[in-house]
Amino acid sequence: MSEDTREIEAALGSLRPRRLPAGLEARLTAALETPEPARRPRVIPFLAWGGLAAAACLAVMLALPDDAVAPTGAEPMIMAAQADSPPPMLRSATPPLAAARAAKSAAAAAAEPELRLVRAEQSAPEATLLEPVRLSDGLFARPVRVRWHNTAHFRDTRSGAELIRHAPHDEVIGLVPFETD
């Protein structure tokens, strides 16, 4: 670096970046000192089910070679004769399948929420008289339209998640005779 540019370098060095505004410094300090929110492990449901399906397929594949290498001639007789208890060949093939089924059902049971009804509410009905209609006997009547909604709150006892089932109802439930002079 030449002598004349050294002077410029020194001058640049004396140029000080502007201090952080007080508000920004406080904001940054607060943001940096705030602990990182804990991350819950994210299990994507379809991946979990996919893994389960893959395990079941693997179990089936492990079972199939036993069938393939088993003697075929005596097999029907054994099956017929020992209908109550599976033949040895089937016994050897069955456990992986059964295990896979059991694992699948256990996993399914574990994945299914255990919902418990916490609260049920029914709103006050709101009745509206509609326009008069003429009945088959020639009289007039006003249909009654009633609107209300039922709300049920369930809670999953395992995860604590809450399910709210909201069911609005809108029905014409009857006729009020229309009196004329």
Partner: protein, 167 residues
Amino acid sequence: MSEAPSAPGDWQAWLSENGPRLRLIARHWARSDADADDILQEALIRYWRHQRHLPGEPNALVVTSIRRAALDLGRQSDRRLRREQAVAADADLVGWFEPPADERHAFLAKAVQELPPEQREVVVLHQWGGLTFEQVGEQIGISPNTAASRWRYALQNLKKTLGPVLS
């Protein structure tokens, strides 16, 4: 750059020491002071939470984090960016620095502003970012020699502009 604090409560001192020059870097890549503030916050949090354990020189990692945050923000508001580019080009660089102590500093800040953008980028990263030419090259995708050349050209330009004032 001093090590980032290991315990909560030390950030204020660390920010007082390093914040101004890091904000200057963010400001160089931002369109406005407000954007620079957001970029700096995003970059520091990203660095502190996810990158401080990465191998490499911490200062370079922080500058990289600032650049990425600036790029992210730029992508988010690309349309607005195009509309405001002309305005940003006229931004007053003197405001990036402490109020000049004398006329010489005021001229210098103005001369830095008038550098070609590619030279100014190298000046900001090398002078205030504390990056080596190799690190500057990695940041902006040029060779270390090119970075050093831009630095030299920038100094020559500043010398040309400020010669009478300095003498």
